[in-house]
């Protein structure tokens, strides 16, 4: 094995070392007075308790899934059982990334509050460093894990260079890693999302609306659960999510790169592996530049926090883009070919730039639709003056409208990156976007830390100016959360397409059958069913929040009624009962949506074959992207419409403030938007990637089952060939279902004629 491969895990280790250093620094900061420490301890304990419960359930899932994967590798010569081990590693690292981020976040929150007693600059420093521990942890683990695993499997499958040994099988193992990571991501995002929003909605509905007490008021029994939720949903959930995204974006490119590499005669200075390792190198370099740029995020007292973050982000992006140019031109040969389509190394760099432009545009558009003072949010504000219903109508309309430009940008991005470098271009565009994930995630994770710091300041009754400082950070955090979601959905869309293309290549190895033709009735039927999945998934997620929030409301009402003196601050609220409601609801309700994402591709693939599954994947992707943007943006816009009232808004000559009727209407919208933007909306990007990865993992087995004897055009084959085809299928099935011994079983084959002629 060549030494250049070791560069990749080394970059991961560097990131982890910086993470440890930053983590130590945060821990050394002062954690405030006794009351603050106690509240912080409550939050940290609640969060850890939830994570323990969640991970216990997920352990069962991982074991069962690993056994199934191992079995598939055992019965199918085209699949490998080592994939099961990679799956477990991916799952464990993803869980650890979430855990690690949360651990530091529950330390940083109280330290940020304490720092805010001194200065805004210090508070930003602590909260952003806390966020960057998460960012570096996620990317460091991913790069180390992927790089090390790549070295191991290349050795294991005897890949001396790309044309020697079994490169395909080696890379297939990496898809197992990615499957593990994204599965945990989905459960963590949905579970955490249900937890945090059940608590948030419940706390707001009784606290703000009914009892008229402010947010994070210690008299509210749901307030600890709400703050725990910020950590398990917005931090641990997001950490697992971005670990998964980062990994699967790289994997999509790696698999397509493998196809380029293994072509006879392909040579470069890297044993023919340059297209495979390129995305990992870019990701590693992007992470190193992210580390560098964290040191540029600084703000003076009274300065602009958003600008400080933007400066850091742009430094990372621009340095990464420039170095990507030299890396690509040096690593790749001048011309590459994938599935008959030729392109240049310059084209690959062009595709990276397309990815960066798409990501930037998505962030800009998302910000426009969710920022205070712009037309969309203002329209919701003015529609709040005529009641709850018009506020809701306004928000739904904004959310739906907000899909237009991003979809056009994405379509142009697909078109453009393909024009530059074919399918590899689509994949590398996504990888380019995600290269600075470490920086992106640092920016994203600082928001909930600041939010929590504000909560602790409020609950410990610190002076008003402390809360004012954390509020500045929190407001910036709301914007970065929204733009981060726009970015996430764009990269997920491109990644899914890369994975989709990789799936087609593996499941339909014969180039003449590489179509997903929606003019065929059964493929179109697949498109219909696939497009429905994001709807049912969202429905399950938001209904779960609605139900859990109701239970929370009833519990809080009960405590207000039954605990004497609670509203006067004399009776002690039973915080732990509210924590228990959120925990139980989220664990119970995350399972079904997760199962749908995992089971549907397997069922469709094995019953109807790869082309119908391709239709399903296209449906899931297109509708998932739409629903993700619709829900995230509507939620973000409602949130900021509500926030607009804090400074007072002018509607047709009258100024309305907090507590006015229009403000109450805007709270309704914000509450509806909560599960939209923090539960179902951000789950969409994981859903579409996970279903693509599941398909890619089963692709070798599908190829074995559906392409073993004759190509898919069975309809026009003579009847003899058709029979042979069916027999082959039936045998493949029986082999898969019952192991290699049972060979004479027949199952009903899918009728061949159910394919549009042509």
């Amino acid at each position: 094995m060549s030494n250049f491969l070791y560069v990749i895990p080394v970059m991961g280790i560097i990131a982890l070392l910086f993470m440890i250093a930053k983590s130590v620094w945060v821990s050394k900061q002062g954690s405030g007075n006794e009351k603050m420490t106690e509240i912080a301890r409550h939050i940290a304990e609640g969060a850890m308790a939830f994570l323990k419960t969640e991970y216990k359930i997920l352990t069962y899932f991982v074991i069962i899934a690993a056994i199934l994967l191992g079995y598939m590798g055992y019965v199918n010569p085209r699949s490998s059982w080592i994939i099961a081990i990679a799956f477990i590693i991916g799952a464990v690292l993803s869980a650890f990334a979430g855990f690690n981020g949360m651990r530091i976040a529950t330390k940083s929150n109280v330290r940020t509050a304490e720092a805010a007693r001194t200065s805004l600059s210090k508070a930003l420093s602590v909260s952003f460093t806390g966020g960057s521990v998460m960012g570096l942890g996620v990317t460091g683990l991913a790069i180390l894990g992927l790089g090390a695993l790549l070295i191991v499997v290349l050795n294991l499958f005897g890949v001396i260079n790309a044309q020697n040994g079994e490169l395909e099988k080696a890379l297939e193992v990496l898809t197992g890693f990615s499957l593990g990571a994204e599965s945990i991501a989905l459960f963590a995002r949905v579970g955490g999302g249900i937890y945090t929003k059940a608590a948030d909605v419940g706390a707001d509905l009784v606290g703000k609306v009914e009892a008229g007490i402010p947010e994070d008021d210690p008299r509210n029994p749901a307030t600890i659960a709400d703050n725990v939720g910020d950590n398990v949903g917005d931090v641990a959930g997001m950490g697992a999510d971005l670990f998964g995204s980062f990994v699967s974006t790289i994997i999509g490119t790696v698999v397509l790169g493998g196809e380029i590499s293994k072509q006879p005669g392909f040579t470069d200075g890297y044993n023919g592996l340059s297209p495979v390792i390129l995305p990992m190198v870019i990701a590693g370099v992007g992470t190193l530049f992210s580390i560098l740029s964290t040191y540029f995020v600084k703000v003076k007292e009274g300065g602009n926090v958003q600008r400080a973050l933007n400066v850091g982000n742009w430094i990372a992006v621009i340095l990464t883009a420039i170095s990507a140019y030299f890396i690509i031109i040096n690593m790749l040969p001048a011309t590459l070919t994938l599935r008959g389509h030729s392109f240049t190394s310059g084209g690959v760099f062009g595709a990276v730039i397309v990815g960066l432009v798409v990501g930037t545009l998505m962030s800009v558009i998302t910000e426009y639709y969710t920022a205070m003072g712009k037309r969309p949010v203002n329209s919701i504000v003015s529609q709040s003056s005529t009641g709850h219903a018009t506020n809701i109508i306004g928000g739904l309309a904004v959310g739906m409208e907000s899909t237009m430009l991003p979809m056009i940008v994405l379509a142009a991005g697909i078109y453009g990156s393909f024009a530059f470098a074919g399918l590899y271009g689509v994949a590398i565009a996504a990888a380019g976007m995600m290269a600075t994930t470490a920086m992106q995630l640092s920016i994203d994770a600082f928001g909930p830390i600041a939010d929590n710091a504000g909560g602790i300041a409020e609950m410990s009754e610190l002076p008003k100016d402390v809360r004012a400082k954390t509020d500045i950070l929190d407001a910036v955090g709301n914007t970065t959360a929204a733009t981060g979601k726009g970015f996430a959905i764009a990269s997920a869309a491109l990644t899914s397409l890369a994975l989709f293309a990789a799936f087609v290549g593996v499941a339909m190895p014969d180039p003449s059958t590489q179509h997903i033709d929606i003019y065929q009735a059964r493929v179109l039927a697949g498109l219909f069913v696939g497009a429905m999945i994001p709807f049912i998934f969202s429905s399950l997620a938001i209904a779960a929040v609605g139900r859990a929030a109701m239970a929370m409301v009833e519990e809080v009402r009960r405590q207000f009624r039954e605990i004497p003196g609670i509203l006067e601050g004399k009776g002690k609220p039973e915080y732990e009962k509210c924590v228990a409601i959120s925990t139980n609801a989220s664990i119970r309700e995350m399972l079904l949506p997760g199962a749908i994402a995992l089971v549907v591709p397997v069922l469709v693939g094995f019953i109807f074959g790869p082309e119908v599954l391709g239709g399903v994947l296209a449906g899931v992707t297109v509708s998932g992207v739409l629903m993700g943007m619709f829900q995230s943006n509507a939620g973000g816009a409602w949130d900021n419409a509500k926030k607009s009232f804090e400074k007072g808004v002018d509607i047709k000559g009258t100024t309305h403030y907090k507590g006015s009727e229009p403000h109450k209407s805007s709270v309704t919208g914000d509450t509806v938007g909560d599960p939209f933007k923090d539960t179902s909306g951000p789950s969409m990007n994981i859903l579409i990637k996970l279903m693509s990865i599941v398909s890619l993992v089963i692709a070798p087995t599908l190829a074995n089952r559906f392409n073993s004897t004759v190509p898919e055009t069975g309809a026009v084959s003579p009847s003899g060939a058709k029979t042979e085809y069916r027999d082959a299928r039936a045998q493949a099935t029986s082999t898969f279902l019952y192991g290699p011994e049972v060979k004479n079983l027949r199952i009903m084959a899918v009728p061949d004629r159910n394919r549009f002629p042509g």
Copy 2:
């Protein structure tokens, strides 16, 4: 020309004669006291004034579109200019169908109120007969128009039998008819939908919520506008909508039937035209049985109105299904072939049955999700107890969930009808579902008539028991409206697929190029853009309602404030100002969504070619069906959740009635649901059909432009052929854009390489 063709228009004439008879009968009924007559006159005048304004605007549109169509027929030898005339006829008949239904509805409403003074039986009789005038008018005009036009064009293009003369061009003219009908349908549905919901939402928000006065209270200035809205939206809009649906469903089958007919050697007893005329004959027979079954819709005093309607409906459906069997077996030859796929006449009947089963299941599922007392509506009811926000979350979750089973049913229906009779099967399944449109529409249209009757009873202060009777009819009307929408979206989905298949056949005449391959980057990009259109369309529609409702609220508040004694019933409200607000808003706001539906297919088709347009159409269809069901069902469920409070609902041991806090929350949901279920939701089915029809109409020109020299697989052609291909394209473009004289102009061609290899 053969005599058997004359059977079709004759069936249309029979339907129109019955319509006239029923219309005369309704006019003869007593129209009540002076106050009732005056209110009815206000409503009728308001409705007619709106329709006049709307039709004036649409006249400009029809003229411009007709000129463009005529021009296309002039420059492109494959297209016919007569299509422009057919377009005008289709538009005029659609407008007339809406006008006619509304004229009789504004007569029936007051007569139903008067009849309700006598008995429920009489009231049902008057309102249902009023509805059936609409039902028979729509179907009679459609059958007469289509049948007569078919005879004319067959003569004009010298089609002695299917293989002699230009059958293809003749049928192309019918697509122009359908384009006219669906264009008017879209504008009428959107315009009427904005009108009615702006008035309804506005009236409710100030009247019920703020001033605490009941619905239809004469003190509410928006109340006349609200009742006018029922007529222009729910009656005229729905009439134009179903005229369009009925026509385009038939056309989808006719065009595919034409492909079967023109194959050399195809013979039957009908000059080879049986596959073409079959859908018209089934539609005609279905209409005759619908006439018969209207006489079975009767109810005794205190009887079950829903059952009376169901009996009538089932008689029509069963008789039509039985006769369809004999018609199909007798008309069609035993075996047919379409695009290389063979099937039997028995298979065609099987497809009809699939269509009926799909339609029935869709109605049943829709009823489950929107009916009082079932799990979905009850979940919204119980979530109303914790406030506006949880009510909204509950309704959104129900709406999203409600897409699951229908999408699976539709996918199975596509799969099944195709398995029975190929593409022709998919088309005839839709035609079978729509055959009893006359009965369906009679049932649908009686609802708003009863609703209006209730309004008139309230405003004229008739005894409470009169309103009680109209309320029974109105409640049934709400259910039939919901199930009708489920039915409409199912038939639209199947029709769109038939039109989509017809489009592929015409735009890509070479069978080897008949693919819509979403594995190609540019086609997938098309899918993304297409799927976004229903979102932006819905956004425009509901935002328009929100804005207009706000204006209405402000106007009503102003009148309450400025007109002395208005709330004591002494001051006279200025009804006409509210009517003007709705009229202006709806006319102004219907144009942009309508333009999107018409322009996008043309732009995409001419710039990117038929395959990308195919991707767009698939995207629009799948996302339009989802959004249609989501919005209609959420709206229906919210409505009935609110209605549940009228009888009192039990939530965790406490009974809540009208006026309670949970009821107020449920009113919010109902208000949000109003534009969902009556503006954007039901527009979706027209949107998807209209975009397919536009594509089908431009298909011959696209075929001319994109397929003239070499097939689409330019990527793998030698470079010489590629150049030739581009030249041919460029020439075709210049011919199209600048007329036949300018031939040497070059435009940039779409890069061929932007196609996935394979």
